[in-house]
């Protein structure tokens, strides 16, 4: 009963840890795609800048500033693809870019197929891993959404969680085609900028902020803030749940060990009479507690991966190929050891308080 309880607690803690791990590593991946880039956008908008609207001519003006590397920067239009639906209930994000400047958005992301739209048809697209999964697409296939067809020329490798940043859930196409299908001719959402040689991000930010006070320059720091804000509340909640489960496990084993000590009162008395030291009795109780929690813990750890995969499949994921991260195994193992040791301490202390004379009389 105790082992099953510990196993269930370890399983819960493990699954929560995995969820947090996936969330953090996903967001770190997303953050990596923003690394070194700056977004010039309308005041009060955020990332992704789908809510920002600026004119293409203003975008060109920004691109021509000396602090901006115009060869590595581009006007970009971010707009949800009408009629699309991703697995998590969101929408595919269309990212319209000037062909040849895809690197401003894609960065170092590995692409299967072509990583540039230069020389491709108007409807050619490079899609993120989530988008590929949603439409079951391969390089060379065609996606049709709302009577619009898109020819897939490249698929980006998964880089993040796809939430709330968009590279995995995006569909990169030429700016002109994006403007065309979203009916936003002459408009863009942002200018994705890379500082020109010799200029820092701060210089670019200061220069553009003073030239265009009604617009924002969104940097990696802002992205980090967005991520931190989103993570903070979730982490607090998850950690509270873990602490609760941790406490339940401790009480569970402690209770079992207290009963065990009571049942073994006579044996403890015999051992003390035969010359066993108090410290050895304490170690014996803690050892038993550790064994109990370790058995439950090992079974729990072994079950984390299949249970997490099963949950993923039940929630609609396909081709779920999850490998339990070593860091999560280590975290859970440490928790199990702490639970085993500390829940054995009080019963061990009480066992030491038993007088051998009383214990020998105990029936």
């Amino acid at each position: 009963m105790c082992i099953i309880g510990v196993m269930a607690c370890v399983l819960l803690i493990g699954v929560i840890n995995v969820v947090m791990y996936e969330m953090v590593s996903g967001l770190k991946g997303d953050l990596g795609t923003v690394h070194g880039k700056m977004y010039f956008e309308q005041n009060g908008t955020n990332y992704p800048p789908a809510g920002s609207v600026i004119t293409e001519s203003l975008g060109n003006e920004v691109l021509n500033k000396s602090v901006v590397d115009s060869q590595k920067s581009t006007n970009a239009l971010f707009t949800p693809l009408q009629g699309s639906q991703t697995g998590d209930g969101g929408m595919t994000m269309v990212v319209g870019l000037t062909p040849g400047r895809e690197g401003a958005y894609i960065g170092n992301t590995t692409v299967t197929g072509k990583s540039s739209l230069v020389g491709e048809a108007d409807n050619a697209v490079i899609i993120g891993s989530e988008t590929a999964k949603t439409y079951n697409s391969t390089v060379g296939s065609t996606i049709t959404v709302n009577n619009e067809s898109f020819k897939v020329v490249g698929i980006m490798k998964k880089v993040g969680s796809g939430w709330p940043l968009t590279i995995d859930s995006s569909m990169v196409m030429s700016l002109a085609h994006a403007q065309n299908i979203s009916d936003r001719k002459g408009l863009v959402s942002t200018v994705i900028m890379v500082p020109s040689n010799g200029n820092s991000e701060q210089t670019v930010e200061d220069t553009l902020q003073s030239a265009y006070p009604k617009y924002d320059v969104y940097t990696e720091k802002d992205t980090q803030k967005t991520i931190d804000k989103q993570l903070k509340e979730v982490m607090i909640f998850m950690n509270m749940v873990i602490i609760m489960i941790f406490a339940v496990s401790m009480v569970l084993i402690m209770n079992v060990m207290m009963m065990s000590v009571k049942e073994k009162t006579k044996d403890i008395g015999t051992m003390r009479a035969l010359g066993t030291k108090k410290g050895s009795i304490m170690l014996l109780i803690i050892y038993e507690s550790l064994i109990l929690s370790s058995i439950g813990g090992i079974i729990g750890i072994l079950l984390i991966s299949p249970v997490y995969s099963l949950l993923g499949i039940l929630m609609g994921a396909t081709n779920f190929n999850f490998v339990l991260p070593t860091s999560v195994i280590i975290q859970v193992a440490v928790i199990v050891l702490v639970i085993g040791t500390f829940s054995g301490l009080l019963p061990a202390y009480l066992a030491n308080k038993i007088s051998p004379i009383e214990a020998l009389r105990y029936e």
Binding site: G269, R272, A273, L274, G275, T276, K277, K278, P356
Partner: protein, 230 residues
């Protein structure tokens, strides 16, 4: 012959909810090396209290008690624990074998409590445990759990356990109290054999028949009654 146990003017007073109860009232006792002593007395006479003192499970409230030349009244608990492990072999009425351990492991157990030069390695401990079990005629039961043995066999395992650390004396608390006549005879023969081998035996008993060929000490109201003719 050297004194093994020497108690002078031993008092043991318990505080039972504010009421002082004197379990021993200036008791004097001497047990020499190689003796077989039987302690007899009615319930409440102070037998168990005396056994606890001689067994170093407790210390007297007043008086001097030396065990193998060492005064125990002022000893720390850790010192008493060491003394029990090294000098005393315990035999209990209810056998008190550890139920989760095999016969061999039960006998080996007290050797784990030894320290310093007296601490043996695993194989030496096993060999010594098997030797002791053979001496009580149980070498065919090494891997049995205590629950699978008869009462007489269990007590023989307990005797082997008491002998394993080569103690100065064996303290037997009603060793035949839970046994039938045949087993009682066997156990008493074993205890006499051990005593003949040079180990002192101190036994508490109610059964007069088990006291043959032993020095009998009768305890009443917390003191040893003088022998007739003393």
């Amino acid at each position: 012959m050297q004194n093994l146990v020497n108690g002078k003017e031993l008092w043991k007073t318990y505080d039972l909810g504010g009421v002082k109860v004197n379990a021993l009232r200036g008791l004097n006792i001497t047990v020499d090396e190689g003796e077989f002593v039987s302690i007899m007395g009615p319930s409440g006479s102070g037998k168990s209290t005396l056994m606890n003192l001689i067994g170093c499970l407790d210390t007297p409230s007043e008086g001097e008690l030396t065990i193998d030349g060492r005064e125990i009244s002022s000893m720390k608990e850790s010192e008493l624990t060491k003394l029990r492990a090294e000098k005393i072999g315990f035999i209990f009425q209810t056998f008190n074998l550890l139920p989760a351990l095999s016969v061999r492991d039960n006998v080996e157990f007290p050797m784990r409590n030894m320290s310093g030069d007296k601490k043996l390695n695993k194989s030496a401990r096993r060999a010594r445990a098997e030797e002791c079990l053979e001496s009580v005629g149980l070498s065919h039961r090494l891997n049995y759990l205590p629950a699978k043995l008869s009462g007489g066999e269990r007590q023989r395992v307990a005797i082997a356990r008491a002998l394993v650390n080569k103690p100065k004396f064996i303290l037997a608390d009603e060793p035949t109290g839970n046994l039938d006549t045949e087993s009682t005879e066997n156990i008493m023969k074993l205890l006499h054999d051990i005593n003949d081998g040079g180990t002192t035996v101190i036994m508490v008993t109610h059964d007069v028949e088990t006291t043959q060929n032993t020095r009998i000490l009768k305890i009443r109201d917390g003191v040893i009654e003088p022998n007739k003719g003393d």
